[in-house]
């Protein structure tokens, strides 16, 4: 059997009425992807309603959309080339429906951005371009549409190409292509047009296959991140497994791996990878889980973990842990985002109340104009803000690990914005008023992400090695051969893990992995048990 095709999601974005739905309709028609009779039934519908025929009606299926000739919500449609399966996502261009455009674009891996040749670059041509970049879409082809309306003028095409390429360059995107098209006449959609002899690049159909990737390929070589969705224990039928379930967002997991859950820092070893098959066919038992897999595993020790934590691998780069971060956000809420108000953040499976303590600047994505003095972010604004959460979160920097480096903001039950984390902040730089009370051991432990403990080791060599290992696990250990009681107390008072000889709270065995695990467990600063 031939290796099966991968699939790719493509979003079609751009300003209102520039022809997005028409481009997709024409593409489906010319690529022979429509069911029999579909085009005829749309022709018939338009005739009955005394309207000119619109390819867009293949996508704009809602009555209100057809009545008003506008796309309200994103549509998915499916088609296939020799190379790949595609889901084409038709986004609305009207500013009122930006939330729907984002809903569609957030699932895409590449984009077609449509610009009307006669009208030129408009407000949402730029805003959508900016949003695509923010949503992490780096592969963009620009379609200069309605080229028939400007007599297929190369000059007009070149002008738009120049201006829009310049705009894309300012947001760090190198477009894959600029294609002159006419969706209604069919120029360069599925077939190269003889009427644009000055253009020798790909057609839209050809460009789709030129995009790279598919099925969200990649991510398995990155650090492991499995946000815990739930821990299942279904007792029915004598099933006594306790299975940690979650989506593998990045990395690779195998049985025997040592995992650390953040933010609690609890650690355990993976006992088994769990997957259920109807036919109990053991040949398909998984040997590893990697990015993109909804997975589950059992643990060798029965530690208490719950939804909201992220399972990571010991020895790999740990996530940031903290209550404060800086993020670049887009706001979709009806009422503006304001500092001081309580919102809820959902980041992967974690959820916490939060506040914005500072808005650093607000950007209008259609002009790239930045306002550093803005007091609030209005609907459709982009803003750079500092967030302080009520609960400790484990997260990544969005540029390094996108899926665990982003979050949505819920305002009064509605998802009202999305953000990409740009920087983890310590307790000092959150912009909130500092308390004058003495620092408690609890606060210190939270900040240092560890509880202090004394550990006894046999030899100096082993003490130094252990110190290095714990340090790499993100802990703050300190080896000293000889310590007075005062010195010992001062060090543990400061929150440090003290490695020394003689009596101590934890005694090492000489088995490095077991000792590290034991110390991580003993110094684990879990918020809840």
């Amino acid at each position: 059997m031939a290796r099966d095709k991968l699939s790719m999601n493509i979003v079609v974005a751009g300003h209102v009425d520039h022809g997005k739905s028409t481009v997709i309709g024409r593409l489906l028609a010319d690529a022979g992807a429509l069911p029999e009779g579909k085009l005829e039934s749309i022709r018939e519908l338009c005739r009955r309603n005394a309207k000119p025929f619109e390819y867009a009606f293949l996508l704009d299926a809602l009555k209100d959309e057809r009545a008003q000739g506008i796309t309200i919500d994103t549509a998915r449609c499916f088609f296939e080339t020799e190379k790949r399966k595609y889901i084409i996502i038709d986004a609305p261009g009207h500013i009122e429906f930006l939330k729907n455009m984002i809903t569609g674009a957030s699932r895409a891996e590449a984009a077609l951005l449509v610009i009307d040749a006669a009208e030129g670059i408009c407000e949402n041509s730029r805003r959508h371009g900016y949003m695509l970049e923010m949503l992490g879409i780096r592969q963009i082809a620009v379609l200069v549409n309605k080229i028939d309306l400007v007599d297929r003028s190369r000059e007009t095409y070149e002008k738009i190409k120049r201006e829009y390429a310049e705009f894309l360059a300012t947001i760090g995107i190198a477009p894959a292509a600029f294609i002159p098209v006419s969706a209604t006449e069919g120029d360069n959609i599925a077939f190269p047009s003889e009427l644009t002899p000055w253009y020798d690049g790909p057609t839209v159909l050809g460009q789709l296959d030129l995009f790279e990737g598919g099925d969200n390929t990649g991510g398995s070589e990155l650090p492991l991140r499995i946000p815990v969705e739930d821990v299942y224990k279904f007792t029915e039928g004598g099933d006594d497994r306790r299975i940690v379930a979650g989506m593998c967002e990045s990395g690779t997991l195998r049985a025997g791996d040592q995992v650390v859950f953040y933010p609690s820092r609890k650690t355990t070893v993976v006992n088994s990878l769990e997957e259920w098959f109807m036919d109990a066919d053991s040949s398909r038992r998984p040997r590893e889980f990697s990015a993109g897999k909804a997975c589950g595993f059992t643990m060798t020790t029965q530690i208490y973990v719950r939804r909201g934590e992220i399972a990571c691998l010991a020895g790999e780069k740990p996530p940031e842990i903290g209550r404060a971060f800086r993020a670049s956000i887009f706001w979709l809420g009806r009422s503006p985002l304001v500092p001081g108000k309580e919102y809820v953040i959902k980041s992967c499976t974690a959820k916490t109340p939060c506040r914005v303590t500072k808005i650093h600047s607000v950007l209008d994505a259609s002009t790239l104009e930045k306002n550093p003095a803005a007091a609030e972010a209005k609907k459709n604004d982009i803003a750079d803000c500092t967030f302080v959460c009520e609960k400790e979160l484990a997260f990544d920097i969005g540029a390094a690990l996108p899926t665990t480096g982003r979050f949505v903001i819920v305002d009064e039950y509605e998802i009202s914005g999305g953000g990409i984390i740009t920087e983890a902040l310590g307790a000092g730089d959150t912009g909130s008023a500092a308390s004058s009370a003495a620092v408690t051991p609890g606060e210190r432990a939270r900040y240092l992400r560890q509880k202090p403990v004394t550990v006894s080791v046999q030899t100096e060599e082993y003490g130094r090695k252990l110190e290095r290992r714990l340090f790499e696990e993100g802990r703050i250990p300190y080896y000293a051969a000889r310590l007075s009681d005062e010195q010992r107390n001062a060090l543990t008072g400061a929150g440090v893990i003290v490695l020394t000889h003689g009596d101590a709270e934890v005694t090492t065995t000489g088995d490095m992995n077991a000792d590290v695990t034991a110390i991580l467990l003993a110094t684990d600063n879990a918020l809840e048990v």
Partner: protein, 295 residues
């Protein structure tokens, strides 16, 4: 490790099922006995390691092909499913149906499916629950409304479904506000709702008809024999009530033949629901039904 297209679809659907299970206390899954909702049921068994931790709800119009009901009850017993059915008793008793000649197809759908579904979910009409000890259905004393309802619709079925959200809110009357849906991105869904409303959860939106059949073949999902040609050169491509769903002419009697027929054979360019009469009466009829709570 590179996962295949089906692996990715499976994982995304399992993720949605697990998120629903975490978010809703009163969750159920609609099981129409058709191929899509049966695949969904198998995905649930996969998501929860062989268990299905919520009830399955079937709306019985009493015009289903008898084989479907027999199949439903057999699997319910075999897989230890918490099986519930509901119906529009009044409309059936008063014969206010299309086959009785007292309603148009659309009106009939609205009564026997949409109304029966809305009231069964809300719990203000009787629910019948399978007693595994006796193998019989009994009127259920539990009348708690379901707040999360998992449904196996696919975006490629028809226009209004292509516009659906994964988590799609319905108001008190079960109505769908297609023009103002909440945003949904990065695997984060709207899971907080006003009392009296419920959410339809759609884990199969990204699946096509071919994906469904290829998954059935790969996983060994049992489907009703009505989907296969039994020697008379006819089979069902989509299952509904017998007065409104017609079999198609087809020689396909195996999964391989069905998949071949859909991919490159006679149905490669024929819409799946073309055998469904209620989709035809007027353009937008199905959208109207769906705004009113139809699946």
């Amino acid at each position: 490790m590179q996962y295949s297209h089906l692996d990715m679809l499976e994982s995304k659907s399992i993720h949605i099922l697990r998120e629903s299970y975490s978010a809703f206390r009163n969750l159920c899954m609609l099981w129409s006995i058709g191929k899509d909702s049966t695949v969904l049921l198998c995905l649930a068994r996969k998501a929860f390691y062989g268990h299905v931790p919520f009830p399955l709800v079937h709306v019985d119009t009493h015009y289903k092909i008898p084989e479907m009901i027999e199949y439903r009850d057999r699997l319910a017993m075999e897989w230890n499913l918490d099986m519930i059915y509901g119906e529009n008793r009044e409309a059936l008793e008063n014969r206010e149906t299309f086959p009785d000649g007292n309603a148009t197809r659309i009106e009939c759908c609205r009564r026997l499916k949409t109304e029966a579904l809305t009231h069964t979910l809300a719990g203000d009409w009787p629910r019948y629950r399978l007693n595994h000890a006796t193998g019989k259905y009994e009127e259920d004393s539990d009348r708690e409304p379901f707040t999360g309802v998992i449904v196996g619709v696919r975006a490629d079925e028809e226009g209004s479904r292509s516009k659906e959200r994964t988590f799609s809110p319905r108001d008190r009357a079960g109505d769908w506000d297609a023009d103002d849906q909440p945003p949904e991105f990065w695997g984060q869904y709207k899971t907080d709702f006003a009392p009296g409303t419920h959410v339809r959860i759609h884990p199969l939106l990204d699946w096509t008809e071919v994906d469904i059949w290829e998954y059935i073949r790969r996983e060994g999902v049992p489907v009703v024999s009505l989907y296969f040609n039994q020697g008379d050169g006819k089979r069902y491509r989509s299952l509904g009530c017998w007065p409104c769903t017609k079999p198609v002419d087809s020689d396909a009697s195996t999964l391989d033949e069905i998949i071949e027929e859909l991919k490159s054979g006679k149905f490669a360019r024929v819409a799946e629901r073309s055998g469904r009469e209620q989709d035809k009466e007027d353009g937008g009829g199905l959208e109207e039904l769906r705004r009113g709570g139809y699946m």
